[in-house]
């Protein structure tokens, strides 16, 4: 187990938060808080806050609370108490110091994973309450540096990694060229109008994990898919603005993404293995723009893989033979119920599947979701310390023989990688696409 810096009360080493707090005045705080609460939350927040009877049943739902020796301040109700309850009680008359602490709680001590909502007898959505706190912090300019930088990238490039227009196209061409060593006529079809499928990914894929685009192209080719990707912005479905509370920018990003697919007349969007992006396209971003549901169907990679196996669109050479376990990403499991499909894909592709416990919609968050990992190095130790519950799950699965953890989500990969390293768990991480590419018959 690697050493971890002890977490000291009020010790915040984040330039984004500190510089933002320095510019705050009590008047500005009160004005912004009341603007948000009056104009944007309506009855929903009031009902949640008024309905809570402080029973504490949500506590056991939170991996922070469980991982941090059941310290009440890490319970969901405790986090609301440190943020919105106090703000509403004082009608927005809180100090810059209070906002500083509230920002740390909202951005780095809650993954917005919604597990607690399942254990609340009233179904109070504490992720929503924390999102309101983040929205206030965004409007006050008190946002952790690294996630704010990612939001800036989104606003300039429409992707989260500052990938320039030419770099994107060049990466696709590079992957296409590489793939043609395996399949001579393989294409990553750019801007093909009228395709059945518009495939979208997240910024880290062209930046750091280009092989995932290669694999996706191979899978699409093998499945005989009519597909395309855009050469212009709109290819990135991710959205850290949703997590900073910059909803205007979230809307702009979702508009660019959906309109890229609509312009190319694609019948649906298939997205790569990302959880938070799914939340932004399926729930938050589309609805903020006025589309009750996505304007064209959008499915997560799990649904796509399920489709190609259930319709026997691809053949496999032999099943993946190392024992695997599956991590259920919050945003596609509690957000969409894809855990059954995920298991069917795992069973179709892997010889030995060992469940983690608890699992499916009761699974613990990887600790990285909700934008927490995107808050960067200043909060890494605390994040990993707060994922002890997840580490214990992984140890238990390993004890039953699991050697590989499948995590169909980029942020989950980041979070689980840190947990595996920090807690010294000897397990390998894979995407479902990694497994499928490894075992499928390559067409020629």
């Amino acid at each position: 187990m690697s050493d971890s810096k002890p977490i000291t009360e009020n010790e915040i080493d984040d330039k984004g938060i500190m510089a933002g707090v320095e510019k705050l005045s009590p008047e500005k705080i009160e004005r912004v808080i009341n603007e948000v609460i009056t104009a944007e939350t309506g009855a929903k927040l009031k009902v949640y806050v008024d309905t809570c009877v402080h029973c504490g049943l949500c506590s056991e739902g939170c991996h922070y609370f469980i991982s941090r020796d059941r310290d009440p301040k890490f319970s969901p109700a405790g986090k609301v108490k440190q943020t919105l309850w106090e703000i509403m009680r004082k009608r927005g008359r809180v100090s810059p110091e209070f906002i500083k602490n509230a920002a740390v709680v909202a951005y780095t001590q809650c993954n917005l994973c919604k597990r607690c909502a399942m254990y609340c007898p009233f179904g109070i959505d504490i992720a929503y309450v924390m999102s309101v706190m983040r929205r206030i912090c965004h409007k006050l300019g008190v946002v952790p540096l690294y996630i704010q930088d990612t939001a800036h990238s989104h606003s300039v490039t429409a992707n989260q990694m500052w990938v320039k227009d030419d770099e994107w196209i060049d990466t696709l061409m590079w992957q296409e060229e590489e793939a043609r060593d395996e399949v001579s006529n393989l294409r990553i079809p750019l801007d093909v109008e009228g395709s059945d499928t518009f495939y979208s990914v997240i910024g880290p894929e062209p930046k750091y994990r280009a092989q995932l685009i290669y694999q996706a192209a191979m899978i699409m080719e093998a499945a005989g898919e009519s597909w395309t990707m855009p050469s212009s912005p709109g290819w990135d479905n991710s959205d850290m603005c949703m997590y900073t509370g910059d909803y205007e920018m979230m809307e702009r990003l979702k508009k660019v993404h959906f309109e890229a697919a609509i312009r190319l007349k694609a019948k649906r969007i298939v997205m790569g293995e990302c959880g938070h992006a799914f939340r932004s396209v399926y729930d938050m971003g589309n609805r903020a723009l006025g589309w009750k549901m996505p304007p064209i169907p959008i499915i997560h990679a799990i649904e796509y893989y399920h489709e190609i196996f259930s319709k026997e669109k691809i053949k496999i050479k032999k099943k993946f033979d190392r024992p695997v376990t599956l991590h259920d990403p919050c945003n596609i499991v509690r957000g969409r119920g894809l855990h059954h499909m995920a298991r069917e894909v795992v069973n179709a592709t892997c010889k030995t599947f060992i469940e983690m416990t608890p699992n499916c919609e009761h699974n613990y968050c990887c600790g990285a979701g909700g934008g927490v990992i995107n808050c960067g190095p200043p909060f890494k130790n605390e994040r990993v310390e707060s994922s002890k519950a997840k580490a214990e799950q992984l140890f238990a699965a390993k004890a039953k023989g699991a050697e590989v953890v499948i995590a169909p989500c980029h942020n989950c990969h980041g979070g689980l990688e840190d947990i595996i390293h920090h807690y010294g768990i000897d397990m390998e991480l894979k995407f479902l696409g990694d497994i499928i590419y490894e075992i499928m018959e390559i067409p020629e």
């Binding site: 510089a19 104009a39 409007k139 800036h152 320039k164 006529n185 050469s231 007349k265 589309w291 009750k292």
Partner: protein, 421 residues
Amino acid sequence: MDRENWDWEIGKREIANLAPWQERFSYQEEPCASPDGEIVAAIIRNDDEEFTAATQTSAGEITTWENAYEKVWHLRFGPDGRLSALVSDTAEWTVATDDTPWENTYDFAWDMAFTPSGSHVAVSTQKDLQYAVSVNDTPWAKEFSRLTAMTLSPDGLHSAAVVETELLLETEIFKFRKGCYSVAVDGNAWKQSYMNVWEPCFSNDGNHVAASIRTTYQDYTIVVDGKPWDKKYSSVWAPIFSPDTNEVVAPVKEAGRWSLASQDGLVWDTSFYQLWHPAYAGGENRLAAIVSPEYGLWTVALDGTAWDATFNELVTDLATSLNGQRAGCVFKHDGRWGIAVDGKPWQGRFDMAWKPVFSPDAAHVAAKVETQGKYILVIDGKPLDRHFTRLEMPVFSQDGQRILVKGVENNIFYREIVDLG
């Protein structure tokens, strides 16, 4: 390419049998047709394993460009009928038009754009990590560390793009807030920079540029020729110029509702849950836009008045007639696509639908639709009795009495003139 000089004689002609293409080339991309439908072209791989363009006309055999490349993409006919593509050899990119490559080469070139007449071809370029625009092989004199959203004036004499005016490194969030982005016109950036700049556009005369900007996290507005509007909004979408007066209007959000505004204030006295893609409709300078009159419902508004018909999933591809009297759009309702014109949905629902096209006299409107993998042309609400495996956008004759249909049936690319009389 003067439409009046095209062959408008009623009847159907075979342009290319695509079967020999498939036999001759080991690799071939989707074929496309010239605006007049007389030439079919596609990217192919030749016997030397290089990429180039192949073309065929009704009179001739398949011919390939003399020049071949390591890479070719974005093969497009310009409005004047010239064929252009982005081509690369030894990691240097340029534009090739009708088999003639530009003299200047770049580390990358993309985002190819044409003027409406086709006289000017522009691309965004990158060389040694410096970015610029090149128009008809003439690059901007000045380069930038980042460039996006390139646009051309209608006459092609000017080009503009969003540029980074000060090199911004990752995590420099405070520098970002001071403003590092602006619009460069013909390579010259406006004096003022902003946090964000999006969607620059030219006026019809090419003398003015407008864009949407964000000056703080909360303040959005429109900037015209480097001068922002006085008023700030909680959000804005892309602005447009009036073709007659050069007045700029843009969707703006205030108090949670969207409307259309100019520098002088609201242009429409109605507001909507959502409003975007405004368009001036023809000579009467009417304004149309896609709107959401209530949450989850979508339609078109003309001069601030929404159609009665609403659609529960999507409205897109707003089109207006030249005389400003008619408007049409593509909609999606209960999972199926359709066409609506003048506030009324046409009969028939499809798997996909394309932007409706009005005849110059506004008497007719046609739209391409897809159903069960076949493409159909619907004219004035009635489907033409043809089923294509590929279909290009229809073109009306200048008098609006005939329509050019370009499409593939049974692997043969046809050109057909249909009489609407």
